[in-house]
């Protein structure tokens, strides 16, 4: 996870574990439910956005495989990882995976690379840990 950067492409393939899940936001009816989760692997953590049925299917402790996911800004200008329309998220198992909670890539200020505007680079750290899901 450490190597992902925000982009408008479905290019993220990763295996991680969900540490915590927030209550879904009550928005626009059941099909458009979204909820945020804290995801992490041995290298980094990130906020993962679950859509619709995904909100119920996944729980803290689940080990997840993401294929063709996308790491980009949502409506609130937060950088989140999600499956997106072309991506797929599957549950592989539970519990048996190591993780770190810092750095959190959603709590980093990104900006386009000066020499390569298509790619984003980290500018500064807003918070070392997730502010929505602080460590226990």
């Amino acid at each position: 996870l450490r190597d992902i950067t925000p982009a408008a492409e479905n290019n993220v393939n990763a295996r991680f574990i969900l540490l915590d899940k927030a209550r879904p936001t009550a928005e626009e009816g059941p099909q458009h439910r979204k909820c945020l989760a804290l995801a992490a692997d041995e290298t980094a953590a990130v906020h993962f956005q679950l859509w619709g049925d995904e909100c119920d299917a996944f729980n803290p402790g689940d080990i997840v495989l993401l294929t063709d996911g996308i790491f980009s800004y949502d409506r609130n200008q937060d950088a989140v990882l999600r499956a997106g329309r072309r991506g797929r998220v599957q549950k592989l198992g539970e519990f048996c995976m190591n993780f770190v909670e810092t750095p959190n890539l959603s709590e980093i200020k990104w900006a386009p690379h000066p020499s390569d505007p298509k790619n984003y680079a980290a500018v500064s750290v807003v918070s070392p840990y997730s502010r929505l899901f602080p460590p226990l």
């Binding site: 049925d53 803290p60 998220v89 539970e94 519990f95 048996c96 190591n98």
Partner: protein, 533 residues
């Protein structure tokens, strides 16, 4: 893809096991109906594939069970070893998630494998026993109990002959389940199951006591939890007063059971494979300090039900069934005592007493010369020592408990229990599990009476140091420091086992606060001790 075997959500990844079974089935489907081709299967690969196909067929086509079974009998060439092995994998991997009719077929095929004495049928029975969840009184769980009991009962003689260990394992499981169930009062659906379990247990204990003895000392612990059931009350009386009723040569007293260590295998029978893998991961890979999230997930998944006392089995398992390697012990992975400390904190008083008994059970009759291992008793003493000073309540409660046990566990054999606990304490010091129990012996928050008894276990005398004219003032700091140095200089000159140095040890222990001693011990080890040793 929709699964016929397993009740899955669309978000679950495909299981490689299920995929391989289904693939074998689809490709060989035409060959699974009579008339069966008489081709000899040349390669192991073909044989395995056909077995997988038949297995999938038996699980998903119940109406064709007889056909598939006949086919299997016809083609078998390895005494059903591969078929049973695959069936065990299915049970271990997804028994709890399979559909009801698939469960029925699994039990049907288990019965078939037992009846032909298939290679590995014992492993299969164990796998099913482990799927019985403690404290779960749902229909499905009860049904599984009934089915397994029925198989054991039907094949009793064959099991006694060929795999008596399985019967002893089943006895452990059902006694444990009965203990949980007997507390749930007045549930009629429960009653008939309990009757079956009681019949099984009594038959084992009365007719095949020598097989039951294989369990070891924990059978006593289990029996003591069943005394509310009249049949067990009677059995207990016989065990204590009339051991000859059990007709085992050489068995004359209950204390003979005490000396037999219970193998960790029995404790694993009460953990589902998932629980075991989670626990082993926690104890082998999670850093000390990073365990909180794992503990939350584990508790939510396995420790939520009030009726389940599975924590008791977990504690026994951690002590006797999971001995980490030296590499893991020396690393920063969370130690066993910390996990047990968490379990103790997590539960309330009623279960906590049982958890403490589970933690100290091997202490009561410890004998390194016999079968006992210091690794079984290590977590308890480390929890005691490491809880000072931050969680001194824990230390106090553990010391109180072990002292109480030495007095009350077996009032007619107090010396036996005292001897066991004493040997256990001395072994942990001798083997270097802890350098010494000083930090507990000098802890002011624990009553002097308890500390006195603790010293007795360790065969140390805890009188205070005599007044010394060199240190006439009230502040005895210098006195304490001097005695500490005197002890270590004595040991350096005369050797550790010399009795002469013991008096200096008693003096410094009586005078010095535990934290100072710990600090000085560390300084000595690292070579920074500020004194003339």
């Amino acid at each position: 893809m929709e699964s016929k075997l397993v009740n899955r959500s669309p978000y679950d990844a495909d299981s490689p096991l299920e995929t391989s079974l289904r693939a074998a089935f689809s490709s060989l489907k035409s060959k699974l109906r009579p008339p069966f081709p008489l081709t000899i299967l040349d390669t192991e690969e073909e044989y395995s594939k056909l077995n997988r196909a038949i297995l999938y067929g038996t699980l998903c086509e119940p109406e064709l069970t007889e056909v598939h079974i006949k086919h299997l009998h016809g083609i078998v060439s390895d005494a059903y070893k591969y078929f049973t092995k695959m069936l065990v994998k299915v049970v271990n991997e997804f028994y709890c998630k399979t559909f009801g009719n698939v469960k029925k077929q699994i039990l049907r095929m288990t019965r078939e494998m037992v009846s032909v004495s298939a290679i590995g049928f014992d492993v299969l029975l164990v796998a099913l026993l482990r799927q019985i969840v403690g404290g779960d009184f749902s229909k499905e769980n009860s049904w599984l109990c009934v089915e397994v009991l029925d198989i054991l009962w039907s094949f009793w003689d064959c099991l006694v002959e060929e795999e008596p260990v399985i019967l002893s394992g089943a006895l452990y499981v059902f006694m444990r389940l009965l203990a949980d169930q007997s507390r749930v009062l007045n549930d009629p659906s429960n009653e008939s199951l309990m009757k079956m379990e009681i019949s099984f247990c009594l038959r084992m204990l009365r007719e095949r006591f020598s097989i039951c003895l294989r369990i070891g000392r924990d059978i006593v612990r289990l029996l003591q939890d069943l005394l509310s059931i009249p049949e067990f009350q009677e059995l207990w009386r016989d065990l204590v007063c009339n051991p000859s009723t059990f007709r085992v040569d050489g068995f004359v007293d209950i204390s003979q059971i005490y000396s037999r260590r219970t193998s960790g295998w029995y404790f694993s029978l009460r953990l589902t494979p998932e629980m075991e893998s989670h626990l082993r991961f926690l104890l082998s890979h999670v850093k000390f300090g990073s365990q909180k999230r794992y503990q939350v997930w584990f508790a939510k998944k396995f420790l939520l039900s009030e009726k389940s006392k599975v924590a008791i089995d977990i504690v026994r398992f951690i002590c006797c069934g999971h001995h980490p390697s030296n590499e893991v012990i020396g690393s920063d992975v969370i130690p066993r005592w910390a996990v047990i400390g968490w379990l103790l904190h997590h539960h309330d008083d009623e279960i906590r007493t049982k958890l403490k008994l589970a933690l100290f059970y091997d202490w009561l009759f410890f004998d390194e010369g016999a079968e006992d291992s210091v690794m079984d008793i290590e977590p308890a003493v480390l929890l005691m020592v490491h809880s000072v000073p931050k969680y001194v309540d824990m230390t106090r409660s553990l010391v109180e408990f072990v002292v109480m046990l030495s007095d009350r566990y077996d009032t007619r054999r107090k010396e036996v229990v005292f001897g066991g606990i004493s040997r256990a304490f001395q072994a942990v010091v001798k083997r270097g599990v802890v350098r010494s129990l000083d930090v507990v012996l000098t802890c002011d928050m624990i009553s002097p009476v308890l500390r006195e008894i603790l010293a007795k276990f360790l065969q140390i005398e805890l009188k205070t140091a005599p007044a010394d004219f060199r240190f006439p003032t009230t502040n005895q700091t210098r006195h304490c420091f001097t005695r500490y140095i005197e002890f270590h200089r004595c040991v350096a000159a005369k050797g550790e086992d010399s009795g002469e140095c013991a008096k200096f040890a008693n003096y410094y222990r009586a005078l010095c606060p535990g934290e100072w001693i710990e600090k000085w011990n560390e300084q000595r080890e690292s070579g920074t001790f500020p004194g003339p040793l």
